[in-house]
Structures are given as structure tokens and as C-alpha cells.
Amino acid sequence: MRPHAPALICRLQAHPARPATPVCPRGSACCKLKPVDRRTFVTLAAAAPLAAAPIDVPAYRVVTPFPKSQNPGMPGPYPGQAVRVHSEKSIDPASGKVDLETVRKMLSTGMRALTGDTRDDDAWARFVSPKDTVGIKVNCSGAPRIRSSPEVVGAIAERVMAVGVPAERIWIYERFMNQLVTVPYRNFVPQAVHIHAAETDRGSVMGYDPKVYVETDFFGEEDTRSNLTRIVSETLTKIINVPNMKEHQASGVTGCLKNIAYGNFSNVARSHRNEKTNTYSFIGTLAAVEPVRSRVVLAVMDGLAGVWHAGPFSNNPRFRFYPKELMIGTDPVAMDRQLIDIIEAKRKAEGAISIFNQSREILGDNRDPNKNAYIREPGHVEYASKLGLGVYDQAKIQVKRIEL
């Protein structure tokens, strides 16, 4: 585990009035350079691993009426496993056109490889039943250039319906409507499938559940709560997570964990300020909140296209790449661990610094792939493993690679 640097964190916040001492707002997370106040952790389901947590992990207060599940969806029935299916035919990088039939085959092959089943319906029936209301959590933070491909989402919806879930009980959802509407999901699913955003009006709290939230004060912000989307707590019984393969300026990578954490809770951008980001512990903490942890039962990481720098956006085509693969599993940590290697390998091939480089020298204009706006926190994946969300140790992860 990477050691945190408390002195660095406070230096970033210093102001001339107190050059010798940190002047972060008293009580704010950036200055909690002390063991976690356990009184504030009373409802944190996964509190046990925090005994070994880095000392600057903020004090999180998790409020939820949902009990801890004995069989949570994460890491689910296939901990420490990931299936990677590659096909050269899946996408044409020049045009961006996705071959839907190839995507269907990749999904089918991957699901059968994960479960050991010979029939698609049997494989999918392990995760959803006709009684379920199923959410497909897409990632549109870089849309329209990079997003969960509508072809992949459409293929997933087909399989969910094949199990017997009616179209009207399938919800494709994201946080922000202005991003969601830029992707033509409607063209790939029946009209009855819902396409839903928590924030039709950016910044509105109305799409979030006031009874389920994580409270913490990172930088002295007044609104200290991040609430879960209502659709997750009130409507969905199962969620299929469909992230992309992307580097992320703050968290290092954005895959399964971040899509299900920052993509399901409000008011999360507050975790970054200047070059400091609290993604290290916040992502895992959010992902572990019930009912998120129980209801996310499957992840299909869309790696047809990806971003190796300046993510989660894809404003500069230079930083886009085409892994041409789908990664499937139930363990978000094991899958994101693979993502780290994918991004690192690509960055190395491009001559860019590692996402684990946390020196201040990297700070700068990220049009240069060796510069970044934040000190990245790819350690968030390992941190999530300590909350019980999955397996981080690569030696203990079984990866099945399939070429179509």
C-alpha cells in the first residue's frame, strides 16, 4: 500500500497567515491526521478493515436503513475472477462503429466462461430473475466521445429480457441527463426500457434518497452529504455495472468501483480540490454502502474504446485507445486491478508516466501526458479490497482471456 503524505496534504491547503502550521478548516478531513474517530463509524458496515487504514482517511458517517447482506453482489459468486474477451472485429477505430453481432458473441462467450454454463440464459439467470427490476448503470461522464457503448448496453438488455425480465422493468441510468441524452441508447433497446437520470436538472437533490448517504467534511464544504440515487434504493433490485476502460485524472483509473460509487451518489465532486483528491477512500466507502453493495450483481466493463490519459473525458483523441474487449465479472476490485494494468501498459507504450507517480512534479497542464491536474489515487482499488469488495492481489486473481 502506498504511504500517504499528510505533510504534503496540509501544505497544499496552507495560507500565509499560518505558514508553520496547517490551516485547513478545523475538523475538515484534510486535517484529520489522526486515527479515525470511531464514534462516527458506528453505522459503517465494513468498519473492521479500517483499523489498518491510512491515517488520513476521512471520518465517514454512513447512514442507511438497509441491512448488511449475507450474500452481497460485490464481490459476488466469482471473487478474484475476471473474464476478458477480445475481438478485433468489435469496433472500427477509424469510424468508431461497433459491430453489434460481434459484441453479442463477446458477451455470450464471456458470460459462459464466467459461469461455466453452456447456455446464455442459464448464465444470466444466475444474476437476474423475471421478478427483478434491473438497472444498467452506464458511464456517460465522457459522453458523447467515450461512454458505455449503446451496442453493449443493448446486448445486455437483450439477455436480461431473455431471462424473462420485461422491458418496462429495465432501467438504463446515469446521474446526469445532459450527458445521458448524448448517447443513442434508445436505438438499441425496446421503447419500454426506461432511460433515467438522477439529475435532470444539474445539482438537484430530488433524485437522491435523503435516508441513504455518506457524510464527511473533506475541505470545509458546507454540504457534507453524498446521497444515493433514489432509483437504486427505491426501484431496482439488481444492477449491472457497465463502466468503461479509462484513466482518471483524480482516481487513477475509473472502472467498476468508481462507476458504481461516484456514479450513484450525489455531491461527489467535492472530494477533489486543487491537486488533492479523496478518491482513495471515498470510492470504496460509497461502493460498500447498502443497498449498492447487494444490488450490483454483475459488471461488464466496456473496453471497446478507452482513454489512457486525461480521463474520464475524451476531449483529445490522442489519448483514446481501442482495447477491443469486454471484461466480465462480479468482483469489481479484481476487474479494476486488471484495468490498472491495461492503463499502465498503454501509458508505458506511449511513454507516459505511471498513474502511481504521486510527485508534485507531475502537476500541470494535462495536454501533456506526463502532467496531470491531480495527485492520482489508483490505490483506491486496493483500499476497496480492504472493505471486502474484492480481491486486489494479482497473484490471487484468475483471469480468463478469450480471443474471438
Binding site: H15, A17, V23, G27, S204, M206, K211, E221, E222, R270
Partner: protein, 309 residues
């Protein structure tokens, strides 16, 4: 008697145009105005409009309340700059204040003054008359009751500009205080700039000082918390068995779509009055032993929520 009390609490409309503009006032629903002394006699001839004399030069001129997003200087969506006069009202509780606010901002000015119980006059232009008249009608409909401000700490105001700016930041963060001359043991905290705990040097960064006060108070002991907007400022008053929460949206031109509010204490019932939203109801009302929470689905400019035991 009650009507008189209400009238005294309402901001006055300062109007220095001649009596032949009375129709515009009537159309806006404005029936009481404050005019320069030399115009009182002429206005007294106008039927249906009550007149009093007032002199803006004898009042403290205050800023038109607003949000300044300062796109080039700050994070627009997280911590916009709020021009609030709450701290001035707290510094001079017996003061007389004057707003010169054109257009819809006149309504926001009236709301702010009413929320703080300030003795204020609002001058506006033709475009501001209707919004101002509507806001005054709304305020007049709020049940008059003898209430005391709810405060969490005291602030020793030395009258300096530094203290004023710290008070301004405290108000903008909905940190509830009253001005005291000396520490009051009945309060949770007393803030005195220049003390060891709150050195003057640190007060040069008033935002950081406000955060220090907040941290010392702790969020758990705050009587009012607002989640979901950085442009809403709140104030709380109390009477036996009830509290009244005032919420002012300083971005009056753009409604806030949803606010979560936490008020210390358990209150089983509520009454909501939202300006421009007569049919609005609170959502997700949750009265716990230590605090009551609710969601206000929409806030245009001003809302008053009475919470009742």
C-alpha cells in the same frame, strides 16, 4: 394590534415618484409606501395608499442581495459568492436600512430584510414593482408571532471591518450567532477576534475563520443545516413549542430544485409558506428525537417553514 405588528415587520417601499404613479403601485398590489418628507402631503391626497416619510440618507445603504458566480475566480458550481446583508442587520439590530434594487432583485431584498426582521426600505424601478408587491403580500401572509432568534454561539463584534467580514462569512455559511458584548455561558461558544483561540491574524482570511468557528462548534451542534445548495442562507427563530425556518435563495433568478434541511429538535408537524409556490409541500419529512429533517422540493426566492411540536 397584530396587523400593526405585521406592518412594522414588513420592509417599506421607498417611492420618490409623484402621486400620478399611484396606478402602477396599485397594480403591483402595493398599498403602503415611504416617500421623501416633502412629498408626504401630496401623496396623502391619493386614496388607498398609506404614506409615511422616510429619508434614505438617514439609513444604512445596503447591497442588493445576489449571487456573484465569479466564473474566473472561483468554482462556479460549488462556492459562489453571495452578497448578503445579514451580518449588517446583526451588527445593527436597531438600524434603518435602505436597498436600491431594480427589477426582480427588489423581491429578494424584501425577502432578506423580512427574514432578518430588519427595518428596511426598498427602492425599486417599474420592473421591480410587481415582484416586490408580490413578495410583500407573501410576507404579510406569514403569521405574526413573537419569536426569538435561534443562535448557536456569540460573536463579540468590535465594529471593525475585519469583524464585519467574518460575520458576513458566518452568516453565509448559516452559522447562527448573535452579537454579544462578552462571553455568554448560555451559548455553546463565543467568538472573540484577537483572543488566543481566534487570533486577528487568522481573521485576515475570514472564510478560514468561519470554518474554524464551524469546526469548534461542530456540525452536530448546529441548529440548522442546509444540504443541496450553496446559494441558500437560512435563519431560525423560536417560540415555545415551535421554530420558524427562513430560507432565502440569493440566486433569486434561478430556482433551487430541492433542498434538504436539518433543524435541531423534534417537531412532528409543519406549515410551509413558499413565495410563488402556494401548493408546495415538504417531502421526506423525518422527525427524529434530536433533529427534524425535510426536503423542500423547490425554492424560488423565499420560504418560511414553521415546525411545531
Amino acid at each position: 394590534m397584530i396587523l400593526l405588528a405585521i406592518a412594522a415587520a414588513l420592509p417599506g417601499v421607498f417611492w420618490d415618484a409623484p402621486p400620478d404613479t399611484a396606478a402602477a403601485l396599485r397594480e403591483a398590489g402595493i398599498r403602503r409606501i415611504v416617500v421623501p418628507a416633502e412629498q408626504v402631503a401630496a401623496w396623502k391626497q391619493v386614496e388607498g395608499i398609506a404614506v409615511a416619510a422616510g429619508d434614505p440618507r438617514q439609513a444604512v445603504k445596503v447591497r442588493t442581495p445576489a449571487v456573484n458566480y465569479r466564473f474566473d475566480q472561483a468554482s462556479a458550481s460549488r462556492v459562489p459568492w453571495i452578497d448578503s446583508n445579514g451580518w449588517r442587520f446583526l451588527r445593527q439590530p436597531d438600524g434603518r436600512f435602505f436597498y436600491d434594487s431594480g427589477g426582480a432583485a427588489a423581491a429578494l431584498a424584501a425577502a432578506e430584510a423580512f427574514a432578518w426582521g430588519a427595518n428596511a426600505m426598498v427602492k425599486t424601478d417599474a420592473a421591480g414593482l410587481k415582484p416586490l408587491g408580490d413578495m410583500l403580500a407573501f410576507a404579510a401572509g406569514i403569521e405574526s408571532a413573537a419569536m426569538q432568534p435561534v443562535v448557536d454561539f456569540g460573536f463579540v463584534d468590535d465594529g471593525s471591518a475585519t469583524a464585519g467580514e467574518v460575520m458576513n462569512l458566518l452568516v453565509r455559511h448559516t452559522l447562527l450567532f448573535r452579537v454579544v458584548k462578552a462571553p455568554d455561558p448560555k451559548l455553546k461558544l463565543t467568538v472573540q477576534l484577537g483572543s488566543r483561540k481566534y487570533p486577528l491574524e487568522a481573521a485576515k482570511n475570514p472564510g478560514a475563520m468561519a470554518q474554524m468557528v464551524r469546526a469548534d462548534l461542530t456540525d452536530e451542534r448546529r441548529s440548522l443545516r442546509i444540504y443541496g445548495s450553496a446559494v441558500v442562507v437560512g435563519r431560525v427563530e423560536s417560540a415555545p413549542g415551535r421554530v420558524r425556518v427562513h430560507l432565502v435563495n440569493y440566486d433569486g433568478g434561478r430556482k433551487v430544485n430541492g433542498l434538504r434541511v436539518r433543524v435541531a429538535g423534534r417537531y412532528a408537524n409543519y406549515r410551509l409558506a413558499a413565495a410563488g409556490n402556494p401548493d408546495l409541500a415538504l417531502m421526506d419529512y423525518d422527525a427524529q428525537p434530536d433533529a427534524t429533517e425535510f426536503t423542500l422540493p423547490e425554492l424560488k426566492t423565499y420560504a418560511v417553514i414553521d415546525l411545531l411540536k
